[in-house]
Amino acid sequence: MENRTRFLFLSTAALLGLFTLSTGHAEEGLLGDNLREELLVEPEIARREISEPNFDEEDFEIGAYVGLMNIEDFGTSAAYGLRLAYHGTESIFLEAAIGTSEANETSYEQLSGDVQLLTDRERKFTYYNLSAGYNILPGEVFLGGKYAYNSQFYLIGGIGSTRFAGDDEFTINVGAGYRLLINDWLTIHLDARDHMFDSDLLGESKTTHNFEMTGSLTFFF
């Protein structure tokens, strides 16, 4: 009788325990810790650090340019500068550039002999600008039947500052360029740019247009 009572009690307890286990309340079950550990399967998944593998990202482009600049009223002379661009997408890039040129004499200065409107230091034309560009016509050029090079025609414009004749002037630049990719990191540019700023240097205030044509060698890094 005693055995029977014990059996009933224990089997009820066991059933209760199984019931609580099956309904997900194993923590408070009447089964011992040992049995619970046997029922649970420890997942053996090693944690893995997900990080992007290290490879060469080449979104920056740096280079130097030389060309000609026409400074309004002051003739045309050599220009040169440096440019640094960041390519955010396949179409859009941002560019920072610094450049310099030097003004010649105006025709008035040449005709009148020894009249000098500007000192040598004031004839220095230096500028910096920050521009945004858009690759509008990507394409390919073919050299003979064997070689093909990628190319991009782009529109570009931005703001900057020009120091000329002793003053700093707010300058807007607009232009277009052609980028020829010699290989996947070296490029050649042809660039035409109009640097516009207001000047009252020759009496009346006017917007001067200073056209610049340059060729440059740049590379991606």
């Binding site: 997900i50 990202e57 979104d59 920050l130 703001i159």
Partner: protein, 252 residues
Amino acid sequence: MQLNRFISRLSALSFLLGLLLPGLSWADDDSLRVQVMAPYIEMHTGPGAVYPVHQVAERDEWVVILKRRTDWFLVETRRGRQGWVVIEEMRQTRMEDGYPLPLVAYSKDDFRDRTWEFSFYGGDMEGAALLGLYAGYAFNENLSSEISFSQALGDFSSEYLFDVNLVSQPFPEWTFSPFFTLGGGVIRTNPSSTLVETEDRTDTTAHVGAGLKVYLTRRFFLRGEFRHYAVFTSRDDNEDFDQWKIGLGFFF
């Protein structure tokens, strides 16, 4: 991109400057090899969707990743053919350990997690045209520190400003996320050469400001800001002025 990586890139660049030879291959031995899992991936002649597909790499083929430019990857097949593959197709490859290649396309979440940001801006400072650029470092998604150089070009003078400031961005998860800023710096004034009084002067400044940052796409964001400056001059009374600016930036 971390700063030390940027610096190592700059040093690599200076090395390249002395070594400007076209046609060199940069595929070094530790390049990453991946196996194609999709039926095939398309290889374009250039890093852009407009460039034609000139070949494909088939399932199970191994390719070496040479470099990344924006969302395009230059890969080389076993036969030595090279082409550019877009990021969506590169995700359908796996590395030598069998795991898919984890690749990051930049999204709004990355903008929240950014460490560095760079921007240039234009605007107005008491009627003078303002332009400049800044670099920012984020301590966390709410707090960052910035350093900026600006130039204001007026009719009678041009001013150079150098500022260091702290930026608090209380709601980084918002699309139009407001921020508040507090900082100080110096201002250098160069009067126009046509004026009689042509003495340059430098004064210290302090400023407060507020603005909005808006994530655009990829790594680009837009930022508009208003600042109020106080100038501590050595003359009888202090000056103050307002500054408005809007800028386009990118982040890492």
